[in-house]
């Protein structure tokens, strides 16, 4: 690096001299090493155990508060004659079922449209074979 430097703030290849370049190189080398170390660190059973324990502790600690909040909210909504979260969820599920029925109908309509587009010869229903009158059939016996 040093031999590339020249006077007038320019390197020998004509680019501006960057006094921070060395610092950045050092920084990148350090971060690269840190990155590799951390990738290895998170891929250990110890990390998995610690992060799992943290999550479990959080869920256990927050469970009573969540329960109180849910009960309080439910009571408040009931008193205000407002639908609860469960009511809205139930309604949304029913809407999805209706959408599926509509989609079934749409599929049948698409099929009908397709049949109508086909030339008449392709869609013509074959006539059933002529059936001899009952008395003639009897007569053949």
């Amino acid at each position: 690096m040093a031999d590339e430097r020249a006077t007038n703030g320019k390197t020998t290849n004509g680019k501006d001299l960057d006094p921070m370049a060395a610092f950045r190189d050092m920084r990148d080398t350090y971060l690269d090493a840190w990155s590799k170390t951390m990738v290895d660190a998170v891929n250990t059973e110890a990390y998995a155990k610690a992060s799992g324990q943290m999550l479990d502790t959080y869920l256990s600690a927050s469970a009573p508060f969540r329960e109180i909040m849910e009960k309080t909210m439910l009571q408040a909504l009931q008193q205000l004659s407002m639908p609860s979260r469960a009511d809205v969820i139930s309604l949304a599920e029913r809407l999805t079922n209706v959408e599926m029925k509509l989609d079934d109908i749409d599929a049948k309509l698409d099929k009908l449209t397709e049949l109508r587009k086909q030339p008449a010869s392709a869609t013509r229903v074959r006539k059933p074979a002529a059936v001899a009158p009952a008395n003639k059939r009897r007569g053949k016996r």
């Binding site: 990155s35 998995a48 992060s51 999550l55 469970a63 397709e114």
Partner: protein, 355 residues
């Protein structure tokens, strides 16, 4: 005095850069701009058809359906003009459809792979066939979308699927050593039922944390440092803004799917062992007969290459190929080199099979 003036200049410069940095990291830029039309919806799912730019006689007759992961927005496939896989494929003459799963609400917490593969995908495909007026189609699944595409292909091999493309597909969970997620969700450390009882659907923030924590220094430090070092480079800044817009726009994962992902796949590897039951049907990978292209990102830390290799020996497809490309989980499709390596290869492979 002169030294003080120089230092003051440096502070002014620093303030200017900090301001630009702050604006960039909080910027939301326009994305997904390739013209498209909504053609089908069900619950939160939407099927879009991209507006063709070539006349019909110059287009490939077999349409292509894009199926992305459930917990990210699919517009990574159409990030910004000039850097969009969707735009590239439309320009190559593909009749392109995109299945956008949307964001599941509390009412969707019981949705499972069963629903996505046997209700949503078949219905979307039926609509796509009706619109394009064809019986055969191609499907591209990426990440969890590749699991969905694989399961659908195995369960409904006679639905007209001609070509199947799997990108960074997490299908094989047997190598516990190389799959970091497998360690994290080990049943000794992670109580999936307790988590889902508390949250219903897996929150986007938790999924995002999980993905970033695989490479914490890269995602929490180096990513921002790269921006800081390149604040004067508008190309880098624009690309960074678009990617950051996508990265910070995650969606929750339906609780039922998350539970299956952990229990059936990460812990018990049921798909590759041929033991996975979807609505009472066993998912037999040997029933897949479609032409198959599996793309592996060699630097993928989310889906390590070992997860995508074994599928080739399990399927019955006569025409199959494994394509390895440098890059990470997202980079192979949305990185700066995607348009030079991955996209042309996908076009080359698919174009010859879409006539």
């Amino acid at each position: 005095m002169a030294e003080a003036a120089v230092v003051a200049d440096q502070f002014a410069l620093l303030a200017e850069r900090l301001s630009a940095f702050g604006k960039t990291v909080t910027a939301k830029v326009p994305i997904a701009q390739t013209p498209k039309r909504l053609v089908w919806t069900l619950n939160k799912a939407k099927l879009y058809r991209y507006v063709p730019v070539l006349p019909k006689e110059k287009r490939h007759p077999v349409p292509l359906l894009l199926v992305f992961a459930l917990m990210n927005r699919p517009y990574i496939l159409d990030l910004r003009p000039g850097h969009s896989f969707v735009e590239f494929m439309v320009n190559q003459g593909y009749d392109l459809y995109l299945l956008d799963w949307g964001s599941p609400g509390p009412e969707d917490k019981n949705l499972k792979f069963d629903d996505y593969t046997l209700e949503y995908i078949p219905r979307a495909i039926r609509k796509m066939k009706a619109i394009s007026g064809v019986e055969e189609f191609s499907m591209l699944g990426w990440c969890i979308g590749a699991i969905l595409a694989t399961v659908y292909s195995a369960l409904r091999p006679d639905d007209g699927l001609r070509n199947l493309i799997l990108l960074t597909a997490p299908l094989d969970f047997s190598n516990k050593q190389d799959i970091t997620f497998s360690k994290w969700v080990d049943e000794r450390f992670f109580d999936v039922d307790k988590v889902l009882a508390a949250v219903g659907n897996m929150p986007a923030e938790m999924i995002d944390y999980g993905a970033r924590a695989l490479k914490p220094v890269d995602n929490y430090v180096l990513n921002y440092l790269k921006l800081w070092d390149n604040l004067d480079n508008p190309h880098v800044v624009e690309a960074w803004k678009a990617m950051n817009t996508w990265v910070t726009d995650n969606v929750p994962l339906a609780g039922g799917v998350f539970r299956q992902l952990i229990v059936e796949l990460y812990r018990n590897d049921r798909l590759m062992r041929g033991e996975w039951m979807i609505r009472g049907e066993r998912v037999d990978l040997g029933r897949i007969r479609a032409n198959l292209l599996t793309v592996i990102a060699e630097g993928d830390h989310i889906t390590p290459p070992c997860q995508s290799e074994a599928i080739l020996s399990k399927v019955s497809s006569k025409d199959k190929e494994l394509f390895r490309t440098p890059g990470g989980h997202i980079g192979i499709m949305a990185g700066s080199g995607a348009h030079k390596i991955t996209w042309p290869h996908l076009d080359h492979w698919l174009g010859r099979r879409s006539g």
